[in-house]
Every structure is written in structure tokens, then in C-alpha cells.
């Protein structure tokens, strides 16, 4: 009984940012896609470097580049973790999620890293197409 009460209290005291929902769920299958103009996606070896890259100066960004790999648009990945509103891009009003992924397709398959929430596009797998394709296979 005491353990349940402590859990409830802990949940109540958690910061709202942690409680806020991410745009994607853990274990979701996603595709990586940047913007229409620049669809490649940086995959960072640390969410803190991701945050520094998005919020820092250009020189800092350049210095960070060795810690990133460039994933081609459409690269598949699975979400392993998500920290909501973790990244504050320099010129955006709203913060973005930092999404931890493991790449599941292409030359970077198996590599783990962190990407911006907006670069992660959930695939419509649960409701339709993927199941059908699995059945076909």
C-alpha cells in the first residue's frame, strides 16, 4: 500500500515536460525524412550533441559533425526511446522531441543514434499495409 502511494506521489512530482507525450511511441517503426528541400537526416551519437547542434552556433555545429552520420531519406528505423521537448532549435518557438532509434535498413543498418522528432515519420504499419505485406510474404 505504501509502495503504491509512493508511486502515485512520484508520478505527481514528475516535471510536466517528462510527462508530456512524445510524437512517437517506443518500438514504433518509423522512416527518417528531413524537410522536403533537404530530406537527409543527421543521426547523432548523443541526444546532447543533437541538442547542441540544433541550438548552437555554426562553428559549434561544424565541430559536432564528426559525431553524426547522414541517413538517406526513407531510411527505416525503430524507436527505442524518446525524450519529449528535449531540443530547442535556435529559431523555432516550440521545442522538439529527441528520439532514440536503431536503424533497420540501408548501409547504416544496426546503428543506434538520436534524431529530431520532426525527422521521424511513423509508418502506417499497425493498421494496414505492413500486415498485409507480411501475410503476402
Amino acid at each position: 500500500m505504501k509502495a503504491i502511494a509512493a508511486l502515485v506521489l512520484l508520478v505527481c512530482l514528475l516535471p510536466s515536460a517528462v510527462l508530456a507525450d512524445c510524437r512517437v511511441n517506443v518500438n514504433a517503426h518509423v522512416a527518417l525524412l528531413g524537410t522536403t528541400d533537404d530530406p537527409d537526416v543527421f543521426v547523432w551519437d548523443s541526444r546532447f550533441r543533437l541538442r547542441d547542434y540544433e541550438g548552437g552556433t555554426f562553428d559549434r555545429m561544424q565541430a559536432l559533425l564528426p559525431h553524426a552520420v547522414l541517413a538517406r531519406p526513407g531510411t527505416r528505423a525503430t524507436v527505442e526511446s524518446c525524450v519529449p521537448n528535449f531540443v530547442q532549435p535556435k529559431y523555432q518557438e516550440k521545442p522538439e522531441d529527441a528520439v532514440g532509434i536503431v536503424i533497420t535498413s540501408g548501409p547504416l543498418r544496426g546503428q543506434r543514434g538520436w534524431v529530431l522528432g520532426s525527422a521521424v515519420r511513423p509508418m502506417l504499419l499497425s493498421s494496414g499495409r505492413l500486415r498485409v505485406r507480411r501475410r503476402l510474404r
Binding site: 543527421f42 555554426f58 555545429m61 561544424q62 559533425l65 547522414l70 535556435k90 529559431y91 523555432q92
Partner: protein, 456 residues
């Protein structure tokens, strides 16, 4: 007439009119101001839209540059190198255009961001584009990463500039709307004030006109009562006419009289009292009967004026009232006219040879105690004495030019010799000259003399 007591009530009307005009000016000026403000806002908004379009075009050209470089590294085709050069030049032109607009809008933060953006684009050219143009087979992965980093940063800065422009545009739109609303309320208020004042003014004016009309009626009634009936004089024909001023305010104190002193002598006089309205009309009665009373005791016109001057000063306390007067004593047998004129210059004799003006022999009455000279002239058969008030010589045409003595003498000379017709014609001429808008009363007294035993 020299002063206008009735006009004393007009300052109220003038103040009302000034209020109305001021309110109207405020309302009209407000409308023009609103128009000007809205035009300025639309102009600013139009410039912002131009800047937004130029920014989007600039971003498109940035992508063109990148794509040209990608095309060149993949194909080595010089076409892509030329395409890159063209896009880079067009990019710089658009950059300059956006910079001008941001500066004009005083968007300092956006301007600084644009400068960063331009610096990154130049860096991208020197670190990515030019090396790839000279050596297309460089390490692709590293180039791609750096290219991506530049691209990310430039897109971020472009977003900031885009947001700044959109925000300024929205701000201007909001401020225009607020301005329109504020001005609409303000103009409605002023128009309501104008309407209210107009209604009040109309009421005030109606009351004023009604009062003046009542006073005018009273004055004219008094004047008619005091004006002389023509007493037949031996060897003389007498005619007279009276024209009231067209203005409600201008019914004045013109008076004339022909009064028989004995079998052969007649006193003739005409006077013009400064001031208008009931006061002036009552004063004309005082003048007429006082002069008659004096004339019964004295035969010398100069002495009559001197005595009247004393009586006037003792009776009338208003220091601003004065009278111009011509008094003559006519011997209807010898046709001798002895006269004195207190500042009254509209006195003429029409003779066969022409019209002669009778000289002024002293100052106007009620001003100072001065002796009045008496002059004597002898008339001939058919000569006509024409006495008028200053409504004759002061008559103005529509251009504002005065008739003056010369004009009056010309009219007298060219009028019908029969005294009544002459008086009527003079009045008609003055009325025609002023376009039926006479400013002053006009009294005319005409007396034609004949040798005793003549035809008349």
C-alpha cells in the same frame, strides 16, 4: 447707416457657425487622415509581401545552387556549372532586395539573421561548392554532411526571417484595422456633434430671425407713422420714396419731412440716424418733432441745427449715436433756399444745366458743439431739390463698387423730371444696382419748384 445695433445679437450666431465649421473641419480632416494612414499601411504591407516573395525566391535559388552542384558532381556536365553560376548571381540580387525591404521596415533582428544567412551561403560556396566544381570526386560523405549542416542552418535562419516578416505583416494588418475602427468611432462622434449643433443652431437662428422680423415689423410701423404725409406747398411738386434694406438687421433711422412754416415758407429736411431697429425709429420721431418745434421759432437753418445739436446731446445719452441732417427753408415765392447741412452730403439740386451737389456746412450732429453755416441759393423755375440718405451714394453693385456722388448725380440727371417719378426711379435704380440685396435703407425726397403764377 454707420453702426448696426441689431448685429449685436449676431455674435451668438457667429459662434455657432464657427463651432459647426470647426466640427465639420475635424470630421473631414479625420477622413483624410484615415485615408492617408490606411494608404501608408497598405504601402508598408505591400513592401513586406514583396520581401516575402523575394525571400522565397532566394530560398529556391539556394536549392538551385545546391542541385546544380549535385548535378555537376554526378555528371561532370558543364551545363550544371553554368546553372550554378546563374543561380548564385540571381541569389545575390534577391538577397539585396530582401535586405533593402528589411531595412525599410526596421526589422533589425531579421536583418542580422539575413546577414548570417548570407555569410553561411558564401561559406557554403567557398567550402562546398567551389571545391566540388574544381574536384567533383572529393569525399562524398563528408561533403554531404557539411552540405547538410549549411543547409540546416540556412533553413533555420530563413524560417526566422519568414516569421519576422509575417509577424510584421500581421501587426500592420491589426494596426490598420484598429485605426479604421478608431477613426470610424471618432468620425461618428464628430458627425453626431455636428448634427446636434446644427439642430441647435437652426433653432437659435429661427428664434433670432423671428425676433428680428418682429422688430422689423415694429420699426417699419413706427417709420410709416413718423414719415410725413405730403403737405401741398404752393408752386411746388413733392415726391418721395423709401426703400427698406433687404437684411433683417438693417431697418434703420432714415427720416425726412416737409413742413409748412407760413404761407410762403416751408421747412424741408432729411436725416440719417446712426443705428438701426426700434431705437433708431423712435429717434427719428424725436428728430422730426424736435426740428419742427425749433423751426417754428427759428428761420435760420444753421441756428436750427445748432439748437438741435444741443438738444440731441442732452437727450440722447448713447455717445455712439449721431445724426447727419440737411435742413432747408424754402421760400416758395422767391424760390430762395436757405440751408445748412450737418455732414449730410446726399443733397442735390437738379437744374436745366445739370445736377449740383449742395455743400456740407458743418459736422454731423451729436459729436461736437460747432456752429453750422447757413448757405443760400436761388432756384429757377423747374429746378428740383433732391435729398437722399446715404443709401444712395453708398449703394454698391454686385462687385462691391460704390455708386458715390458722381453716380448719384448721373442717376438724378437721367431720371424723370416729375418729382414722384424721379424718387421712384432712383429707388428702382439702386435696387437694380444692388441686385435686390440692399444693405441700407434709402429715403428720397424730391421737390420741384415753379415760378409763382407758373403752370404747376
Amino acid at each position: 447707416m454707420r453702426t448696426r445695433p441689431g448685429f449685436l445679437r449676431v455674435p451668438g450666431a457667429l459662434i455657432w457657425t464657427a463651432f459647426l465649421v470647426a466640427v465639420l473641419i475635424v470630421a473631414v480632416q479625420g477622413a483624410f487622415q484615415t485615408r492617408s494612414d490606411i494608404a501608408a499601411t497598405f504601402d508598408a504591407q505591400s513592401r513586406i509581401v514583396k520581401a516575402q516573395l523575394a525571400l522565397e525566391e532566394m530560398l529556391r535559388l539556394q536549392i538551385d545552387e545546391e542541385n546544380s552542384i549535385r548535378g555537376f558532381t554526378l555528371t561532370r556536365d558543364p551545363f550544371y556549372a553554368q546553372q550554378y553560376a546563374g543561380a548564385a548571381q540571381a541569389f545575390d540580387e534577391k538577397l539585396s532586395e530582401v535586405e533593402t525591404q528589411l531595412r525599410a521596415q526596421h526589422l533589425t533582428a531579421a536583418l542580422r539573421t539575413l546577414e548570417d544567412y548570407a555569410a553561411f551561403q558564401n561559406n557554403w560556396r567557398s567550402k562546398i561548392a567551389l571545391p566540388l566544381l574544381s574536384n567533383p570526386s572529393r569525399d562524398g560523405a563528408q561533403i554531404d554532411k557539411e552540405n547538410k549542416a549549411f543547409s540546416d542552418y540556412e533553413n533555420q535562419t530563413a524560417d526566422f526571417i519568414r516569421d519576422a516578416l509575417a509577424e510584421r505583416n500581421a501587426l500592420l494588418a491589426r494596426s490598420t484595422q484598429e485605426q479604421i475602427n478608431r477613426d470610424a468611432w471618432s468620425r461618428t462622434f464628430w458627425l453626431a456633434v455636428f448634427g446636434l449643433l446644427a439642430i441647435l443652431f437652426n433653432g437659435f437662428r429661427s428664434r433670432l430671425v423671428s425676433e428680428l422680423e418682429e422688430e422689423r415689423t415694429t420699426t417699419e410701423t413706427l417709420q410709416r407713422a413718423f414719415r410725413s404725409e405730403h403737405i401741398p406747398l404752393p408752386n411746388c411738386e413733392v415726391g418721395s420714396a423709401y426703400l427698406s434694406a433687404s437684411s433683417h438687421l438693417a431697418v434703420g433711422g432714415d427720416v425726412f419731412d416737409v413742413y409748412r412754416l407760413s404761407d410762403t415758407l416751408a421747412m424741408i429736411f432729411i436725416a440719417d440716424v446712426s443705428g438701426k431697429g426700434v431705437d433708431a425709429a423712435v429717434l427719428t420721431a424725436f428728430i422730426k418733432f424736435t426740428i419742427r418745434g425749433i423751426a417754428l421759432r427759428r428761420r435760420d437753418p444753421g441756428a436750427m441745427l445748432a439748437e438741435f445739436n444741443t438738444a440731441f446731446a442732452q437727450t440722447v445719452e448713447n455717445p455712439y449715436l449721431f445724426v447727419s441732417m440737411f435742413v432747408g427753408v424754402l421760400d416758395t415765392v422767391t424760390l430762395q433756399l436757405r440751408y445748412a447741412s450737418a455732414g449730410h452730403d446726399s443733397a442735390f439740386v437738379r437744374r436745366a444745366a445739370g445736377v449740383q451737389q449742395l455743400a456740407v456746412t458743418g459736422p454731423v450732429l451729436g459729436v461736437m458743439e460747432e456752429p453750422f453755416e447757413t448757405k443760400t441759393i436761388y432756384l429757377e423755375d423747374g429746378d428740383t431739390i433732391v435729398l437722399a440718405t446715404d443709401g444712395l451714394t453708398e449703394a454698391r453693385n454686385r462687385s462691391g463698387e460704390r455708386l458715390q456722388e458722381q453716380g448719384a448725380m448721373y442717376l438724378i440727371a437721367s431720371s424723370n423730371p416729375q418729382p414722384q417719378l424721379l424718387a421712384d426711379e432712383l429707388v428702382a435704380q439702386v435696387k437694380a444696382l444692388a441686385g435686390n440685396q440692399t444693405r441700407d435703407d434709402l429715403a428720397v425726397l424730391a421737390i420741384r419748384v415753379h415760378e409763382p403764377g407758373g403752370g404747376e
